[in-house]
């Protein structure tokens, strides 16, 4: 490709041609690297070197004090961690958060987008504007709002439920309810975003397909199943992938502000656990090992998701 371009653009003058060859024939030139340097250096210094350092620390025992020594312990951190019920519990909760988000990040928005396709412009714009607002609110603020709405004594939701004769529910204090509650709050911020993404994708579907199917006598449901859903599959896969890869990370802020992983560890997930090991109990080794386990797990998931997207997404070219 570079050679063709050099040929097309090249032969004007000798000087120009030499400049071309310098730039395109793969000899080392410094200029592009100067332009790339700020970004690459920052990514190296604040992401990749720390990632390598986390990997190294996962084989050490260290209490994070600059003065205290780091002691090499090999795979002990990993062995201990994997034997801990706490760790298994956290992994299980991570799975719960991820799967629990799907109704709010994919399923409900998908059907809302399809059903609201026919709404007129003004109404749709207003609905869209409103359901998007939670998306831009800070996670801490969202956590605090729900803490207030759900608070056990005088929270609006508590009082409303009591008014309906349903009794009080310890949304954040009862281990049975805390995990679903945090999943709900995480999902609350996502519904609007997913709905918008699906609506845009849905509006982009070529109406002549649907027209043709209708002339052939296809029912409404068949049109959804055989035309809309396949054409929406790239968006479905994108949002599913984001839910799988980032869902557990998104819930982190809510765990931190609302429950600190409790009650009885019922809301701890893997990211919260490694935060606790790192900055509460100051065991850098355990935190790093838990971090590497999480990273490796999500890297595998990411690879699977990419493969699925390539394999199953249907593009209307």
């Amino acid at each position: 490709m570079t050679d063709i371009q050099a040929e097309v653009a090249g032969p004007a003058t000798a000087k120009m041609a030499s400049m071309q060859s310098e730039m395109t024939r793969g000899q080392f030139t410094i200029a592009p690297w100067l332009y790339l340097a700020p970004a690459l250096i920052l990514l190296m210094v604040w992401t990749y070197i720390p990632l390598a350092e986390t990997f190294r620390l996962s084989f050490y025992q260290w209490n994070m004090l600059p003065t205290s020594p780091q002691r090499f312990v090999g795979l002990t951190n990993y062995q201990r961690l994997l034997a801990l019920p706490e760790m298994r519990n956290a992994l299980w909760n991570t799975l719960y958060y991820t799967i629990g988000l799907f109704p709010m990040s994919v399923i409900i928005p998908l059907f809302v987008a399809i059903w609201t396709q026919d709404l007129g412009g003004r109404a749709r714009t207003i609905y869209r504007a409103m359901i998007f607002v939670p998306m831009i609110i800070a996670p801490v603020v969202a956590a605090i709002l729900w803490r207030w709405l759900l608070n056990e004594d005088q929270g609006f939701v508590t009082l409303a439920l009591e008014g309906l004769g349903l009794g009080r529910i310890g949304f954040l204090t009862d281990p049975l309810y805390a995990l679903p509650t945090l999943t709900w709050i995480t999902g609350w911020k996502l519904i609007g975003f997913s709905t918008l993404l699906f609506s845009a994708a849905n509006a982009g579907i070529n109406p002549s397909y649907i027209e043709a199917a209708r002339i052939d006598g296809a029912s409404r449901w068949r049109i959804i199943r055989d035309i809309r859903l396949p054409l929406l599959s790239p968006t479905i896969l994108l949002l599913s992938m984001m839910t799988v890869l980032f869902g557990a990370q998104w819930s982190f802020a809510y765990i931190n502000v609302l429950t600190n992983g409790g009650p009885l560890k019922s809301t701890t997930n893997i990211f919260y656990l490694l935060w606790e090991y790192g900055f509460q109990t100051l065991s850098a080794g355990w935190s790093s090992a838990a971090g590497m386990i999480a990273f490796a797990g999500f890297a595998v998931l990411a690879a699977i998701c990419m493969w699925l997207t390539k394999r199953f997404a249907f593009y209307d070219n």
Binding site: T2, M23, P32, Y35, L36, P38, A39, L40, L42, L43, W46, T47, P50, E53, T54, L57, M64, W115, Q117, D118, L119, G121, A123, Y127, A129, M130, I131, F132, V133, P134, I136, I137, A138, V140, V141, I144, L145, R147, W148, N151, Q154, W188, L190, I191, G192, F193, L197, P207, M242, L245, Q249, F252, A253, L274, G278, S288, G291, A294, F295, F298
Partner: protein, 286 residues
């Protein structure tokens, strides 16, 4: 995801059988969703305006709205200083992400590098590394560099972001090829071409990126939580914590503080609504 796709309404053609009942059902669902989205935010504002003896009231509007809670918030903790800090940090983060992103994207579009797929991979993969995984080394590094408890420390780790580079890269690649061909021929003046030809034509993507970067930086919580010591060197998201205590929360001031922390973002949203929604849709979530 163009503007057209967003606004495209072809109601009647794709819906021959929209009876009243169906239309009503759709509106009911949308009203319910809108209510669920907006009510918590409305309730925050209402609570923040309630006098102390009415905090636990469920009336939809305070009988005697007051700004006492706001006054409490700005006098008890350095909330105004924190708001100022947050503004500086968010603006600096957005500016730096645009700058580093423009340079990197330009290099990737203009030069066909042998290593460009490696560079691409490195940039994209960095997006997948969760912050929690690298937090300990980052904290140690920040402390070695003397960045603990500084605003610089809050900005620097976010000064370049995979998302920024990739968004600008894709926008720049869609740029008229003649311009970039000219840039390619004119090796010596590449910086001028970036600055005087490319940048002025990248208004829309730069605006999108600035909005997202600013909002993300404004809403950032964990890095400041790790890095900041003194409230007056911290950001507003951290300030919220000060009204949550073991014994119970000061709900009125807490809601006022939450409202203050959200107000600038809500204002940006109201003014630039369409652009904000579009930028987020282009981007996926950060």
């Amino acid at each position: 995801m163009t503007t057209d796709a967003l606004d495209d309404h072809r109601p009647s053609r794709s819906a021959p059988s929209r009876g009243f009942a169906r239309g009503f059902g759709v509106h009911a669902v949308m009203v319910l969703l809108s209510f669920v989205s907006i009510f918590p935010i409305y309730w925050m504002i209402v609570t923040s305006l309630r006098p102390e003896n009415e905090i636990f009231s469920t009336a939809l509007w305070p009988s005697d709205p007051t700004f006492d809670n706001y006054l409490f918030v700005v006098t008890r903790v350095p909330m105004l200083q924190m708001l100022f800090n947050t503004t500086i940090v968010s603006a600096a983060t957005a500016l730096l992400q645009v700058t580093t992103g423009m340079f990197a994207a330009y290099a990737l579009v203009r030069w066909r590098l042998r290593l460009s797929s490696v560079v691409h991979g490195l940039i994209a993969l960095s997006w997948l590394v969760p912050f929690q995984v690298t937090m300990i080394p980052n904290y140690v590094l920040a402390s070695r560099l003397g960045l603990l408890d500084t605003l610089t420390g809050l900005v620097v780790p976010n000064a370049a972001h995979a998302f920024a580079i990739l968004l600008l890269y894709h926008a720049m690649r869609a740029f008229p090829t003649e311009v970039l061909e000219a840039a390619r021929l004119d090796g010596a003046r590449s910086f001028r071409i970036l600055w005087q030809v490319v940048t002025p034509n990248m208004g829309a993507p730069i605006a999108s990126l600035s909005i997202i970067a600013f909002i993300s930086a404004w809403n950032e919580y964990f890095w400041p939580l790790l890095l900041s010591r003194k409230p007056e060197n911290s950001v507003v998201q951290i300030g919220l914590q000060m009204f949550m205590t073991q014994e119970g929360n000061l709900w009125g001031p807490l809601m006022a503080a939450a409202a203050l922390a959200s107000l600038p973002i809500l204002l940006i949203y109201l003014v630039l609504q369409r652009h904000v929604i579009e930028s987020f849709m282009k981007s996926g979530i950060r």
